[in-house]
Point group: C2
Chain length 731, copies 2
């Protein structure tokens, strides 16, 4: 083939920018330069006539639960609540005194100590696991202390308490981290009927007062994600998708009525792990999530209906108060949201937004945020944006979105002229994708990949952080993945992806799925933990593979120590992990690393670890890469199917290619490789059959030559400048 | 002080050598050169008049259970038995066929399929953990196969079978590894009364036929340790201290009568882990060990009584058939053994022999064994001996032994003249220790260290191999410890050591113990696993520390995932391990590594791992060493006591010093450091107050200068040649 490069005409639009009072000239200049067509104001910003004269579409932001501070202060007993576990205290004698809030930031919480709240408090002997009887401890409201007089010496005790969140988490974060010095913002809990009525009335007045607003940007809806600081304002706990701060006594009671059982504080506290995303979720916690999600949908729908009645569209931002929104749930569509905005710093984040079902317009809020943490003397916003965009563009080649945008203070940007030029190029490149692809789907290999974990769709395209994440020292508000990052590799591959959980496969893997990926630390939600002890699960996945399915295990796949196995699908993968139990049995040591389809493109990979502690257990296993005697990559046939084990997979162009080849090999689709395929691992290509075009992109900052195979397998030599993409007609 | 070096006169004796038929001249020359006073013959060796003329004490070796091959072949139904688990088989359909012996060396086992044996067979669905009913499977004696007709597809099945050991393990090992080509040796099980009577009669005849024998070396007693090969003769499983091959139906039935319950095959098979030493032992397996131990003591006593009646002494060798001997058990003394010989390649092995209680003469069988694996073209026996001896000598300075010796073929040694000279020096040095110390105890710091694991005295001074051991590629018959080796560090420290288990402390730690060490992989017998879930254990250890005790945790100390903690004594140690469950909670990151008593002598250590995944959990923790953000060494006060955490501790002079300082610090005995203390970490000193001498030794092959502090803390400068030791009068 000899396809002809297309000179894509420059256009404008599809870009949203923030406004900034007092810097109208800067806003206007960048609006023009970057070809923006929408402006987002913040709460309280008044748009100047000068800006309005540009004719932008106006997004106005409102976060209703914190918009009316008067309402919050009128109802101190209607603030969001949560359950906290005190720091564990070791009894030095029979007398123990616990300050439940010690170790938490003193300004964020207030103990809820009314009788109906106290009913939920629990004092637990963590050495025995027993809950103490109420007569065995006492709470003194004056001091805020819990005391015990007959503790068992040298047992460890904790107190689970119910508290009010008296400082909105985002406000607190900006106060502590970004040194904002504004009055503490308080959020309210919209679950309370009276509060909800007040919020609706407030919203109606707000709609009436914003005639120029085309889009109401609900930032976001009802409940804040969990972010805790210690007494010294240092990070203590973060769960960006956790339902910890969704509690109220009214909701707990309604839940009890609806589900027929009563939740305990320990159901939320979860031994102090707080049902964080890495934990295999309990059925009780999942019930609570479903319950709150349905409430948030009802609350959101009421807001959307009002906005629509006022002739406005609505947007949600996958941001601070996003808990309960769940864009992958079918109920989400009942809200009627029009635009779905997501912060996006990599391919995973793009797919999180782009893959969400429904008719919503999809918009990315790109990084860096225009904020002094990066836009300062010595900061390098250009490098950050370039690194992000090369990953985002890979993913964009697989799933389209409709718009991009930025947030923060535009006035900060003007001091970085190279960055201004770079964003102009980036916006043009994004619009070229829009224009050339016409929003159509790009070519996919005939393979559907299902990512199997304990969450499934509930946590589609959420980073499955592993233990190395805890030891990563990084900028606090930037997503940087330590060690393995298989999802980022996957985000840019031309394959269909869906996320499934163990309920989805317990009775058999759905038709249409070709390859299952199980990627995560052992015994966490990401690999599945106790679900692998379920005979139905293990048998269903084995049956799927045996009849021809592919399986890719990464990190601690199928790990669950039981019946002599750590990897429950050890028989399928042919490898096993040594945890210390089996030191006296010998590992097989295949000396021969055979040439293999999976490893054809590269010689060396970084698997994100130096020691996997995984060894070959079955002689039929093909060892494809090892570090000393530790298995890094292995493959095995199982019945008509095939499996691949990887010790880890940090994102890199080489590893993304490795994953693609592993997917095709495990699905016996090796022959599909040379279809819309760019041989050089630093390049990617995507074809849009409906638009009769294809694009080739260079991910690295050096010129790259590559061979591109078209849909019939015909090769063409192409050379691309650093970081560039180029469009071709003919597909 | 200015102590005066002593010129130790050369003497002879305290050395045992093997003899070798046909090489009398070589034997005689080395016997003279090395100052030996005893000769050990092997089964069947006839000593020449020439050798007898040297007047050696004669040790004659007999391993009774394999001495009479006629007896073994007369009683094919009285061979030792064991339980094996088949390789797990995944059901592809409802019909499953399992060859129970597939994967095992075909010449070692024979299925025991008589009805009374079949009663112990178990077919287990490893996917559900359920034992199948006997009606659900069938065994075909002709094919040796077990078949099922209604298996659950894609469940995994195993068959536990009872087998006869039809090839003695040592014979098989020499056949396969050392390419010996002699007839297969078969051992018998002395548990059978008739067999036992035959063995006793054989032994009596043997005693009568060996009038020149002074010492009967029982090599060793009744049951062989477990060593399995696969079908290709590759190593499959090794447990040097396991009771796997001690089974007979008679013993099982007697056990049932005595203990009131019946053991299952699964009690032995243990999911395929076979109760290997790393496994936290079950009470049922411990009962079996006690039962067999008592039998071995009865059997051994009968042999010893006969030898004594014949005017001979007895020796046991801690070797192949040593299972059931248990030299640390009080019952062991009932046997009346006179000499206790142990193979010894490092300080741990010396301590294993030297610390065993009782009046036995202690003798070390040193390495390298005179065998062609080392004594070959290109082999370096000198380097191996030098490396071993520098570790053994460190330990010898803490606990004396009475004799040393060698094994193998002396004729091989003569081709290595430097090695011959080296051994002459080594024997002289050993005799100098004997002569100067007069066998008295060396000075110890006033601290008693208890090593706490699930075995206690049952496995005193047994290497606590961790997971890295599995990935070590090494010579199969040499003990080389991968990664951490705290015991080797401990073996050469001037402290009292004992080994305790969790029963020993459940009701309180005994008076006299100053420091508890808990060292081992998480959830193994070495760290203790489920014992840490016992509230009595956790509370007892906390109470001990709180009232002033020391605690040193290494690798996975107190690990047992439960109630929000992985390290159950997280409160004591101040550090916690991240397994993936707590990724969303932040680690404390102390930036300041303070100067500390523990770390005063060195700057850099190798903790045997690059990532510990351990982080600081309590702000009172002192972080003493870290690698990136991973804690390697930390210290904390707890009540009146102190604890130290180490991520690992491979043996090195620096790490041994680190451990010594950690012990003294944790016991608040910092002031005891400069007492009989040599400042240079490559040197050690030991004082013998009763003998009024002290010795200083240099562990490395370079001259070392050091300051030695005497018992009153007075310093003296001393310089030592490479690897040398020097004795001084005055103590």
């Amino acid at each position: 083939m000899t396809a002809i490069p297309v000179d894509v005409p420059r256009t404008k639009g599809s870009v949203t920018l923030p406004t900034e009072a007092g810097h109208e000239a800067a806003v206007r200049a960048l609006f023009e330069k970057w070809g923006a067509d929408a402006i987002r104001d913040s709460d309280g910003t008044v748009l100047s006539p000068e800006l309005l004269a540009m004719g932008p579409r106006i997004y106005s932001t409102i976060c209703l639960v914190r918009a009316d501070q008067e309402c919050a202060r009128r109802h101190p007993d209607k603030l969001p609540m949560k359950f906290l576990m005190s720091e564990p205290v070791t009894a030095g004698s029979e007398r123990v005194c616990i300050d439940p809030l010690a170790g938490f930031h003193r300004e964020k919480y207030k103990l809820a100590a009314a009788p109906e709240a106290m009913e939920y408090w629990e004092v637990i002997d963590r050495t025995t696991g027993e809950v103490l009887r109420a007569s065995e401890w006492a709470f003194d409201p004056a001091s805020g202390l819990v005391t015990m007089k007959s503790a068992v010496p040298f047992h460890v005790y904790t107190v689970n308490v119910l508290v009010y969140v008296i400082w909105d988490t985002t406000s607190m974060y900006n106060h502590l981290v970004n040194k904002w010095n504004r009055p503490h913002v308080v959020s309210v809990d919209p679950y309370d009927a009276e509060t909800s009525d007040e919020l609706m009335a407030f919203f109606q007045r707000w709609l009436d007062a914003h005639p120029q607003t085309a889009v109401v940007r609900l930032t976001t809806l009802a409940y804040h994600f969990n972010l805790d600081c210690d007494e010294n304002a240092a990070d203590k706990f973060r769960d960006w998708v956790g339902y910890q701060e969704t509690v109220s006594i009214a909701a707990l009671k309604d839940f009890e009525t609806e589900y027929g059982y009563r939740l305990r504080s320990e159901d939320f506290v979860d031994e102090g792990y707080y049902n964080a995303t890495a934990r295999v979720p309990s059925e009780r916690y999942l019930d609570w999530m479903r319950f709150i999600h349905r409430f948030v949908v009802r609350f959101g729908k009421a807001l959307v209906d009002r906005a629509h009645a006022a002739g406005k569209k609505t947007a949600i931002f996958w941001g601070d108060h996003w808990i309960g929104v769940e864009p992958y749930s079918p109920e989400f569509q009942e809200m009627g949201i029009d635009i779905h905005v997501g912060a996006c710093e990599d391919g995973v984040a793009l797919r999180r937004v782009a893959d969400a079902p429904g008719p919503q317009v999809k918009e990315l809020r790109l990084y860096p945020y225009f904020f002094p943490d990066v836009f300062r003397e010595g900061g390098d916003p250009l490098a950050e944006s370039t690194a992000n965009w090369s990953k985002i563009r890979r993913a964009l080649m697989r799933e389209p979105v409709d718009r991009i945008g930025y947030g923060g203070y535009l006035s900060l940007v003007t001091r970085f002229p190279e960055f201004v030029e770079h964003v102009a190029w980036l916006c043009d490149e994004f619009r070229a994708f829009r224009r050339m692809s016409r929003g159509t789907e790009s070519y996919k290999a005939p393979v559907k990949v299902a990512v199997l974990n304990a969450w499934g769709k509930w946590r589609a395209w959420i980073n499955s952080f592993g233990a190395p994440q805890k030891f990563l020292v990084k900028r606090p508000d930037v997503t940087l993945v330590a060690g393995t990052n298989l999802l980022e590799c996957l985000a840019g591959l031309p394959v269909d992806v869906e996320f499934i959980n163990f309920d989805d496969i317990r009775n058999g893997v759905a038709k249409g799925i070709n390859v299952i990926i199980n990627d995560g630390d052992a015994e966490t939600a990401w690999s599945g933990g106790r679900h692998w002890a379920d005979p139905q699960v293990a048998a269903a996945v084995r049956a799927f593979i045996h009849r021809g399915g592919g399986f890719i295990g990464c990190r601690g796949p199928t790990a669950c120590p039981r019946q002599g196995r750590y990897f429950q699908l050890c028989d399928v993968m042919g490898v096993e992990k040594e945890t210390g139990q089996g030191v006296q049995s010998a590992a097989l040591r295949p000396s021969h690393v055979p040439p293999h389809f999976i490893t054809e493109d590269c010689r060396e990979w970084d698997f994100g670890c130096t020691e996997s502690f995984v060894y070959v257990r079955d002689p039929a296993t093909q060892l494809l890469a090892a570090r000393e005697a530790h298995v890094m990559l292995a493959a095995k046939e199982f019945g008509a199917g095939r499996s691949v084990f990887m010790a880890g997979l940090p994102y890199s162009p080489e590893n993304a290619r490795l994953l693609y080849r592993a997917i095709l090999w495990s699905a016996r689709l090796e022959n599909s490789l040379a279809r819309w395929f760019s041989t050089n691992v630093n390049t990617d290509c995507a074809a849009y059959p409906e638009a009769d075009v294809f694009v080739v992109a260079n991910s690295v900052n050096r010129e790259q030559a590559t061979t591109v195979y078209d849909g019939d397998g015909n090769p063409q030599e192409i050379t691309l400048p650093p970081l560039a993409s180029r469009w071709y007609r003919g597909c």
